[in-house]
């Protein structure tokens, strides 16, 4: 195998693989990339078994063939070259000889059959989806995906094409839940893969990798489902993610009923108040108590205010009042402030709505400008 390639293109493509190649796996081969040249293209594959990335770019092929080389090492080598073009020639023992201008080196490689068989994605029916829509959905749900391996079915985001022709993405870790539903334009509902109608669970790492590798500038993105994998393609890049088996918790059961009284708060004021009061919360529990509708001194009038309060025997106590638009009764509940901070962090609008029902019921937070996204945070006893 022998080919000549532009250094810049090679570096670019190798960069896309770096997220999935692992150094620590028991399977040493997973730190390698499979290079294959044929026709006038170089194809690169990398996998950690859960996620596989394939990409390709143009090159001058002198002799076709395959080899696997250390992905990280190769990236560092190519990235540090100065010349514009690189020539790689593979020797009989699968070592690769790399020449570029005044540089020449030999890199240890292995037999291409050492590399795991990557899912063939060429025959899959692909469906287009707008890149920004998908990335936005991931952004708004990724933070609440569980990291607890004891419950594997929630270590990913639930992705579904619902009966009302919308795309749904939900994530939860048992203490909080994020749900976003969008109606994509130009989405052909009649030809959606069956698996997606039932809903699939995309693992956390897959979502992270998707965010990393999909360019938001390029609106062309398509996806398909094959053998328990979801595949995303953009340009020459294709990303297959092994789905998580199992059922996702039933949404209907955890969704709180709409409360009668909503509070509307300026997001920035809420964020800064939370940040201030959190200085007094215990680092172990991150406890903060929210009180909506503070009772006046006369014990009768309810003021439209949100009181944030935290206390810790080692630190003291702190309190801050934020004006809100609220007309309901006085309600209070304790929370892990980080959960609320996470939610506020992904909201785009200036105003948020907060619905506290009572001390133990799930609390709803929404972006006023984007009602289709719902965030639930479970209170804790403080």
């Amino acid at each position: 195998m022998k080919f000549r390639i532009s250094r810049e293109a090679f570096t670019n493509e190798l960069g896309k693989l770096q997220g999935v190649v692992s150094q620590r796996s028991t399977l040493a081969i997973l730190s390698n990339t499979l290079l294959e040249v044929e026709g006038d293209r170089l194809k690169l594959d990398a996998t950690d078994l859960d996620i596989s990335v394939s990409t390709s770019c143009a090159c001058e092929v002198e002799q076709s063939g395959k080899v696997t080389l250390q992905a990280k090492g190769l990236y560092d080598i190519v990235n540090n070259l100065e010349d514009e073009f690189v020539t790689i020639q593979v020797e009989d023992n699968y070592w690769a000889r790399l020449d570029a201008g005044s540089v020449s080196c030999r890199i240890v490689g292995t037999h291409p059959d050492d590399f795991p068989q990557i899912l063939d994605t060429s025959d899959i029916k692909m469906y287009p989806i707008a890149t920004d829509v998908l990335l936005d959905m991931i952004d708004k749900t990724l933070f609440s995906v569980s990291t607890d391996d004891a419950r594997p079915n929630i270590t990913g985001a639930f992705f579904q094409f619902t009966e009302n022709n919308s795309l749904l993405m939900v994530s939860t870790d048992g203490h909080r839940l994020s749900k976003i539903e969008t109606k994509p334009e130009n989405f052909d509902a009649s030809s959606v893969p069956e698996a997606l109608k039932k809903g699939i669970i995309v693992p956390r790492k897959g979502l992270v990798e998707l965010k990393r590798n999909v360019s938001s500038k390029d609106q062309e993105l398509s996806f398909g489902v094959k053998q328990n994998n979801i595949i995303f393609k953009q340009g020459p890049m294709s990303l297959s993610i092994r789905l998580i088996d199992g059922g996702f918790p039933d949404l209907e059961k955890v969704m709180p009923k709409d409360s009668e009284s909503k509070a509307f708060i300026a997001k920035d004021a809420f964020v800064s108040a939370l940040k201030f009061v959190s200085l007094f919360s215990s680092p172990k529990t991150n406890n903060v108590r929210l009180t909506l509708g503070v009772l006046d001194e006369d014990g009768e009038t309810i003021r439209p205010e949100l009181e944030l309060y935290a206390t810790d025997p080692d630190r003291g106590e702190g309190r801050k009042i934020v004006p809100v638009q609220y007309s309901g009764p006085t309600v209070k509940a304790g929370y892990n402030y980080k959960y609320i901070q996470d939610v506020l962090g992904v909201l785009d609008g200036d105003e948020v709505s907060l619905e506290i029902i009572d001390t133990l019921s799930p609390t709803l937070i929404r972006d006023v400008a984007m009602e289709e996204a719902i965030y639930i945070v479970m209170p804790m006893r403080v």
């Binding site: 040493a28 078994l49 037999h111 059959d113 050492d114 795991p116 068989q117």
Partner: protein, 340 residues
């Protein structure tokens, strides 16, 4: 490449698996039991190669094709659908984290092969927590999973593990087969060493090879020489002998020396009862001298004390103290050393 042809003297085990695979009634969890070093792990790996091969027609009991990418990966055991779990760490046990890896592993479908194969070597070294963590997976893994637990001490496995697996019994290898295997891997070994090692190894190839490789035969001789130097009039000889014998602080080493002492006693019993005839080698002469100065009763008593000593060592007893006690018992048992 691991092939069926290399598995000899284990016809029952072979037949068992052959029937299971050919009739498509393979169990998901087998426990390979039998003496150490007779090819249990080897057979498990051969089966793994077979089951993972992508070219093998269903219901056939044949070696992997040695051509397909899957068989290629099995040569280095770097296969995404193979998981080998072995004891590790200072305690040389299989811990719960490794078992959790198994649960994670089976959660996914096979990557490229029709099956996923899990081999747990020295399964009896699983800690209690690890064993319990394995129960669920061992009881009903996904239908594509095949597990092989390899152990030469199945009585140490938890009952709950034993009841979930299907036993496959392996036998001791015949001495002729051991001799063949030694010739294959260590062709330059001299005949006397080879013969002695095989005699001591009790049908286990791994023990035979380690006897030859690790100078066990020399240590055996040294043990006998040290017994000979013991003198009841000079208690210091006991201390000297202990420090020579326990040169390495290693517990396995101490336990091996007890093995040698046990063999000496066995030989002596043989000599005294007339079933063993000694030759004129240095070892023979030393044994003869010991036999002449001992009574059968004392020697039988020593035998019990030796197994007690072994027990103490395996239970983290102080090896030096155990040996000092043991050797003073030896001194007491041989008349020629007693104070006249």
């Amino acid at each position: 490449m691991k092939t069926l042809a290399n598995i000899q003297g284990q016809d029952a085990a072979l037949q068992h698996l052959k029937n299971a695979i050919e009739s498509d009634r393979m169990h998901h969890g087998y426990i390979f039991k039998g003496p150490e070093g007779v090819g249990k792990r080897h057979f498990a790996l051969t089966l793994a190669t077979m089951l993972l091969c992508v070219k093998r027609p269903e219901r056939t009991f044949i070696d992997g094709c040695n051509q397909c990418p899957s068989c290629h990966k099995m040569k280095t055991l770097q296969h995404p659908d193979l998981l080998i779990v072995e004891p590790s760490g200072a305690s040389n046990t299989i811990k719960i984290n490794e078992i959790r890896e198994i649960s994670k592993f089976v959660r996914n479908h096979p990557f490229e092969s029709p099956h996923q194969v899990i081999i747990i070597d020295d399964a009896h070294t699983m800690t209690k927590e690890a064993s319990n963590a394995l129960l669920k997976t061992l009881e009903e893994p996904p239908h594509w999973v095949r597990m092989f637990l390899v152990s030469h001490r199945v009585n140490r496995l938890l009952d709950t593990i034993r009841s979930r697996g299907q036993f496959v019994q392996f036998k001791k290898l015949r001495n002729a087969r051991l001799s063949e295997l030694v010739d294959e891997s260590l062709p330059q070994v001299d005949l006397a060493t080879k013969k002695l090692a095989i005699e001591l190894a009790e049908g286990s190839i791994s023990r035979t090879l380690s006897f030859i490789n690790e100078g066990v035969l020399e240590r055996r001789q040294l043990t006998l020489e040290m017994i000979e130097t013991l003198d009841a009039n000079h208690p210091k000889t006991i201390n000297d002998a202990v420090s020579v014998l326990l040169k390495s602080k290693d517990r396995a080493h101490a336990s091996e020396i007890v093995d040698h002492l046990q063999l000496i006693i066995r030989d002596l019993v043989g000599v005294l009862s007339g079933t063993r005839i000694l030759d004129d080698s240095r070892r023979g002469l030393l044994l003869k001298k010991l036999a002449e100065s001992a009574r059968l009763n004392d020697i039988l008593k020593l035998r019990i004390q030796l197994s007690e000593a072994k027990n103490m060592i395996s239970r983290n007893g102080n090896t030096t103290l155990v040996f000092e006690w043991l050797l003073s018992e030896f001194v007491d048992s041989f008349t020629f050393k007693k104070v006249s």
